[in-house]
């Protein structure tokens, strides 16, 4: 066979490469520059395309798909506005370490730089919001680039990768190059195996702790479900307390007595005080984010810190640690367990007993308690009831951003990894609904619920059309407080209750809105009817929008005000800050 005969167009090569990377679904939106790819998709039936209604939603859907399966999420958008619309999603995926490959159309190579129709400098725009990006200038580089992009997206610390594809490259012909396994990249080689000496040192430190705490984050989820199993095993072997970040929820079973709940700005009293007072902190796959540390100068002042992370740039970025360990959480935990078993260390039972006793007094404060009011649905109550009805069902939760997100983190319990998708690092309103679509595509029979705020949901509401088209039975559970509640809470705390532009005027009728899109709409005002509404929502095999009218003025507690230390938290509405928030604190977000 002559090479011309075997040669394939760039677009066909691309589809072949995606199939070879075991891609099953692509979330996308067409346009002029990617028409050849859409033509190739049309001519085959291995690759499924989900047509979203906005490119931002395509990326969030791919994120939900990726986070709930551990696979790479794939996005396809056109040049110019298609690519720029994807930028928020890409940034979101970068901040939360989600593996994404985003294919963007581009004007033909000979027009690049000419301000051609729908031209944007996509590699320039996305350079700071991707883990890496490529502009493919010759069809001969296409297949190899796609395989490399998947490798970069999924390995090491995962993240989004953009491949910019000029239209002529998609139409030119070339032979296909199959992926090489195992991949040996010439410069990119993330370290996954930990240094054995450091594991020994870590076990030594952990064994001698008197007031230890495990602080586990999203890196455990990134590492795969085995990491959660190993974490659980190791934590139970030691008998030590454990807390999870927002991104790490599900890494350790929430119902376990050793679990102190989430830590950080809206974390539990016991988790934050244990972090503050510990003598040995074992951070695995968490990045000392500012929502966690609060005032850095006062963060866990008396502790020796071990930090396990696959990305050396996460270590010693915000907090100086005593024992850094670069490696993949699964491999590190495996080694730690091995060494622990071999050494059979005797932990200081007396000290640990005293530590747990102290923790129990903190736990007894019952920091998540809230005051019920007759006739009003408290948002916390709504989530408690929701959890009651879903806990025995195969379920996945996504959220938007705001108070409802924090309450969801506090009141829903996660027993397994990959069940909780939320926008942590970027805090992107509009994330939850498209993410839920992606989850539902990956898990067609599961119960997938987006816990939403009435403001956030409007940011990607157009996706109701997508769920209608693909009959995705996603549930949107709106905690409607008629406010950008999180904004209102900060205005109350920091700006003398001047609620500037945080009231949601002219909200749509969410029930009618749902119906307009062919979804089902439900509304609930009364606490007594809530259970029935939730049951109805679950029973419906359609997309459902539930408008739960909740208390407008409820605030999310506990809260560590900006710039304060962990032991300076507000526990409830009657708890006034000991000092007013400092000017230093005011400038923080």
């Amino acid at each position: 066979m002559k090479p011309e005969e075997s040669a394939t167009t760039g677009a066909d090569l691309l589809v072949k490469a995606l199939i070879d990377e075991e891609v099953e679904v692509v979330f996308g939106y067409p346009g002029g520059a990617v028409l050849p790819i859409y033509d190739s998709i049309f001519k085959q039936n291995r690759l499924r395309h989900i047509l979203v209604r906005h490119e931002q939603a395509a990326v969030h859907a791919a994120e939900g798909y990726a986070r709930s399966t551990g696979k790479v999420g794939v996005v396809l958008v056109t040049s110019g506005p298609g690519a720029t619309n994807a930028v928020t999603g890409l940034t979101d995926a970068l901040m939360d370490s989600i593996p994404i490959v985003c294919l963007t159309g581009q004007v033909p190579t000979h027009l690049i730089g000419n301000d051609a129709f729908q031209e944007a400098d996509t590699t320039g725009i996305t350079r700071p919001c991707t883990k890496h990006n490529y502009l493919v200038k010759a069809v001969g580089d296409l297949a190899r680039t796609v395989h490399e992009a998947f490798y970069v997206a999924r390995s090491g610390r995962p993240g989004p990768v953009v491949i910019d594809l000029p239209k002529d490259v998609l139409m030119n012909k070339h032979d296909y190059v199959a992926p090489k396994k195992p991949v040996q990249h010439k410069s990119y080689r993330p370290q996954t195996k930990p240094d054995p000496k450091k594991i020994e040192q870590a076990v030594e430190m952990i064994a001698h702790a008197k007031r230890p705490i495990f602080y586990a984050g999203g890196g455990i989820i990134n590492s795969g479900p085995k990491a959660s199993k190993l974490l659980t095993q190791f934590v139970r072997m030691t008998g030590y307390p454990v807390t999870n970040t927002l991104m790490g929820l599900g890494a350790f079973p929430a119902s376990d007595k050793q679990f102190l709940g989430m830590l950080g700005m809206h974390g539990t009293y016991e988790a934050n005080l244990a972090m503050h007072g510990c003598d040995v902190m074992i951070n695995i796959g968490a990045r000392f984010d500012d929502r966690i540390t609060g005032n850095l100068g006062k963060f866990s002042p008396g502790s020796k810190k071990i930090h396990v992370d696959i990305d050396p740039s996460s270590i010693n970025k915000n907090v100086r640690v005593d024992l850094p360990i670069v490696g993949d959480a699964t491999l590190v935990l495996e080694e730690m367990i091995k060494v622990w078993k071999a050494k059979q260390p005797k932990t200081d039972q007396k000290a640990l007993k005293a530590w747990w006793a102290e923790i129990e007094t903190w736990r007894a404060r019952n920091c998540l308690a809230y005051k019920s009011e007759k006739g009003t649905i408290k948002p916390q109550y709504a989530l408690e009831r929701l959890y009651h009805h879903i806990k025995d069902k195969d379920h996945y939760i996504t959220t938007e951003v705001g108070q409802h997100q924090m309450w969801a983190a506090q009141f829903l319990k996660f027993e397994q990894p990959n069940r909780w998708m939320t926008s942590g690092g970027l805090g992107t309103m509009g994330y939850g609904f498209p993410a839920a679509m992606g989850v539902q595509i990956a898990h067609p029979d599961a119960l997938v619920i987006d816990v939403a705020g009435e403001a956030s949901i409007l940011m990607n509401i157009q996706e109701l059309s997508t769920v209608a088209q693909y009959r995705l039975p996603v549930k949107i559970f709106i905690l409607n407080n008629q406010y950008m509640g999180m904004v209102r809470q900060w205005q109350e705390l920091l700006h003398g209750s001047r609620y500037s532009e945080s009231y949601m005027e002219s909200l749509p009728d969410f029930v009618k809105l749902a119906e307009a899109f062919g979804a089902k709409g439900l509304r609930c005002h009364e606490p007594e009817k809530l259970d029935d509404t939730i049951k109805e929502m679950i029973a419906l095999k359609h997309p459902v929008v539930v408008d739960v009218i909740v208390d407008q003025k409820e605030n999310c507690f506990p809260m560590i005000p900006s710039g304060a230390a962990h032991n300076d938290m507000l526990l409830g509405p009657d708890d006034k800050a000991q000092k007013p928030v400092s000017e230093e604190g005011m400038v923080l977000v």
């Binding site: 590699t123 700071p128 890496h132 410069s187 990305d311 050396p312 740039s313 010693n316």
Partner: protein, 168 residues
């Protein structure tokens, strides 16, 4: 405890591909790090590698972050902090144009000789000198020329290398 900022010379070996400089510079501007000097050119045609030399300053924690962030870029092969990894040499080249006549012209030429600067262009009323050395020497030479009719200066920025046989 407030850590003190200090200057570091960092060598970075990268794939010589489009956009690589933008990646490195974007990293510095996006994360608010200083660039005091930056040089880049292809150094290995066979492997298509470029060597970037960056002089930056920061506290030890910031310098450690800068190195980790550079190392994280996909096309980066190696990052070496020459300042902490043992003795090294730094050189810079400058082209210095001086316009003067009479006594000043003679003095410029005499100083050029002292600094081992070469005359690479001469007209009856001007010189272009080429001077190499560490940055202090280059700076001193340029400073001296200011009173002697300095017109233009072009500096390469610093290139640096460790002493001894070891490869980057």
């Amino acid at each position: 405890m407030q850590e003190l900022a200090s200057s570091h010379t960092i060598s970075v070996l990268v794939d010589n591909e489009p956009g690589i400089l933008a990646r490195v510079v974007g990293l510095f501007s996006g994360r608010g790090y200083n660039i005091e000097s930056l040089t880049v050119a292809q150094t290995d045609a066979k492997e298509n590698l470029s060597r970037i030399t960056i002089v930056t300053s920061g506290t030890p924690m910031v310098i450690e972050q800068i190195k980790a962030q550079l190392d994280r870029l996909v096309p980066v092969h190696r990052v070496r902090d020459l300042t902490v990894e043992g003795p090294h040499i730094e050189r810079e080249l400058a082209l210095v144009k001086v316009k003067s006549t009479g006594e000043k012209r003679v003095e410029a030429l005499r100083l050029a000789d002292v600094f081992r600067a070469k005359v690479i262009d001469a007209k009856t009323d001007s010189f272009v000198f080429e001077v190499t050395g560490n940055s202090d020497k280059v700076q001193t030479f340029v400073g001296l020329m200011e009173t002697l009719g300095l017109v233009d200066v072009g500096r390469t920025g610093i290139v640096a290398m460790s002493r001894g046989a070891e490869q980057l």
